[in-house]
């Protein structure tokens, strides 16, 4: 009884807060959601790998950078729209991810977690530096009219294009849920993620599953990277800040909790923009992220001890 009452009170409080923010500073919610979409769609593929293959891929941001450059080259050479280029970008990144898995990560799976971490760190550095050598650190950007699509509500004009990232994140969440629970490969992957030894005994080819999941996650990153170039400039180091952010968001949501990544992203996006809305707190918007993570992680651990 008490739990249900707590839940209802929480929901009521959240709705009240949201409405209050919407009335008083609507852009906090709008920009917050848009940022959340971006963060979540980058973090979800990393969460997939972490949940099933159980490795932290520190080169995750670099995979996105690779997809972004591939899309940029394709689009500037052929005039194709990046949304159409999502498919080839996904394929290229998936192939790349699969090759990386077979050549390097597979070998390191038996080694301790730490080795895998540093291995992906080395892969990340190499990718960034190779991109720097070929493309230089000068940024590139293609311009598309629809990126500045906007709506006027009274006095307020704001961009609506970035909601596309929220759409992508939702697509990923729904798609993955269907895949993991309805398809045989997906269910096998889920089993491998929860208990690799048990899955092997039952006859699931663990290595093949890992390879497939890695390729799938890379494909998702590839899709995301293609859309990324429409609203962001690309340069060799563009991916690294997102790796850390994704890692932190996954920790906040809890490993294996993919929909939770979107909730964590929304919480983060809205809090950041809340702080940016006021002159005095603008510089502290960054810190809210890390304070939130620590609070959530600690809170969960304290609750765990009590329960």
């Amino acid at each position: 009884m008490a739990n249900k009452r707590n839940a209802t009170i929480t929901v009521a409080l959240i709705t009240a807060a949201v409405v209050a923010i919407l009335i008083w500073r609507p852009t906090v919610l709008i920009y917050g959601l848009q940022s959340a979409g971006l963060y979540a769609s980058i973090a979800i593929p990393m969460g997939l790998i972490l949940g099933i293959v159980h490795i932290v891929n520190l080169a995750h941001g670099e995979f996105m950078m690779l997809a972004a450059y591939a899309t940029y080259m394709l689009c500037s050479a052929t005039g194709m729209d990046p949304f159409l280029a999502m498919v080839p970008a996904a394929l290229v990144t998936a192939a790349f991810g699969f090759v990386i898995y077979k050549l390097t990560i597979k070998q390191a799976l038996k080694a301790p977690e730490l080795n895998q971490l540093i291995l992906t760190f080395g892969i990340g550095i190499s990718m960034t530096q190779i991109a720097n050598l070929f493309f230089t650190s000068q940024t590139r950007k293609l311009s598309f009219d629809y990126v500045s699509a906007s709506i006027d509500i009274g006095d307020l004009s704001f961009g609506i294009y970035k909601f596309v990232f929220v759409g992508i994140a939702l697509l990923m969440i729904v798609g993955l849920k269907l895949f993991l629970t309805k398809t045989t490969t997906g269910k096998a992957a889920l089993a491998v993620g929860q208990n690799p030894k048990g899955a092997a005994i039952v006859g699931i080819d663990v290595d093949k599953t890992y390879g497939f999941v890695f390729a799938l996650a890379s494909a998702l990153v590839g899709m995301m990277g293609a859309v990324f170039i429409t609203s962001s400039s690309i340069f060799p180091a563009v991916g690294s800040p997102f790796t850390m952010k994704s890692f932190c968001l996954i920790a906040m949501a809890g490993v294996g909790n993919i929909p939770g990544i979107l909730s964590a992203s929304i919480l983060l996006g809205v809090s950041e923009n809340f702080l940016k809305a006021f002159r005095g707190t603008r510089g502290w918007a960054d810190i809210v992220f890390f304070v939130l993570i620590i609070t959530v992680i600690l809170g969960r651990s304290i609750k765990g001890k009590k329960g």
Binding site: T104, A108, L114, N115, L119, G122, Q129, A251, F290, V291
Partner: protein
């Protein structure tokens, strides 16, 4: 018998390193200082690792030590050498206070929290313009010992020797048994009467003190620091890579890894001005793939295969 010979070897090595300034120029001493700083960080990180806790916060304590020392001199008029001791103690106290909160966490969550703490320190230093100099950082009135290259080298070397000494002590004393037990299986350690929290706290405070000390030595040696310089992610990631490459859960391993990667990075930079970091990344990948136990592991295996009879220690 074996212990005695390793002590003699260590003493000889120490004498050689102490004598470097006699025949190495300012540039080589500078490179040596860089290697030694990373070596100390790698060793101190490994000390906490022996308990099973992976910290991503080296840069946080290092930077905290840098700023504590710099601000003590600038705002408090402290003597530069004294400020190093002050900074080390300050870092230790911070770790003590934080330890009560964060040492309950395990594995990935502990690591992320140490990372988050590092970023929080950096942002605080970045935003408190009047106190900490803001994003542009602070410049000290003078470099310690007036920038005398041998003196700076010996200062750094002392910091390293202290770190090596503490790590060695950890290996030889009760700490070793306690930390290994915690790392292997906490539940059985607890049932054997090991006070897990006490040992984790000791390890965390001691390693943080050492990292803060190295940060203070760094800022005094260069006379300048800024949030991005003091809390550079490389101070976290490179010592990790070095310890791994050399062989974790030991003192010698991180030392070997630091020498390998530290010298390789400087040498590569001079040979391949544009793109040397690619080779650096590839080296890391290759070592992880082909020498997963690190240099130390490979050395042990070679020794083991050369020694037909008799088990090797550990």
């Amino acid at each position: 018998m074996k212990l005695k010979s390793s002590y003699i070897a260590a003493a000889l090595a120490a004498v050689v390193f102490l004598a470097f300034p006699a025949f190495l120029g300012a540039y080589y001493l500078n490179v040596a200082r860089s290697v030694m700083t990373y070596m100390a960080l790698a060793i101190s990180w490994d000390m906490l690792l022996r308990s099973g806790q992976i910290s991503f916060g080296i840069a946080g304590l290092f930077g905290l030590g840098s700023y504590a020392s710099a601000l003590a001199v600038l705002r408090g008029g402290m003597d530069p050498f004294a400020s190093i001791i002050f900074a080390a103690v300050f870092a230790g106290l911070m770790a003590f206070a934080l330890g009560f909160v964060i040492l309950r966490l395990r594995s990935m969550y502990f690591s992320i929290t140490t990372l988050a703490l590092m970023e929080i320190f950096r942002i605080v230093m970045h935003n408190l313009h009047d106190f900490s100099g803001g994003p542009e950082g602070v410049v000290l009135p003078a470099v310690i010992f007036n920038g005398d290259a041998p003196a700076l080298y010996w200062l750094c070397l002392s910091g390293l020797i202290i770190t090596i000494g503490v790590s060695w002590y950890f290996e030889k004393s009760k700490m070793h048994l306690a930390l290994t037990a915690i790392r292997n299986d906490e539940t059985s350690a607890r049932s054997n009467g090991v006070d897990i929290f006490k040992y984790l706290l000791i390890a965390f405070v001691v390693t943080s003190t050492l990292q803060g000390m190295m940060g203070a030595i760094q800022v005094q040696s260069y006379g300048f620091t800024a949030p991005d310089t003091a809390f550079d992610a490389n101070f976290t990631l490179l010592p990790l890579a070095m310890a791994l490459l050399g062989g974790i859960h030991s003192t010698i391993g991180p030392m070997a890894g630091a020498i390998l990667l530290g010298i390789a990075s400087e040498w590569l930079k001079l040979q391949i001005p544009y793109g040397h970091l690619i080779v650096y990344g590839v080296i890391i990948i290759l070592v992880i793939l082909f020498m997963p136990q690190g240099l130390l592991g490979m050395a042990r295996r070679m020794m083991r295969s050369g020694r037909k009879a008799g088990a090797t220690h550990e």
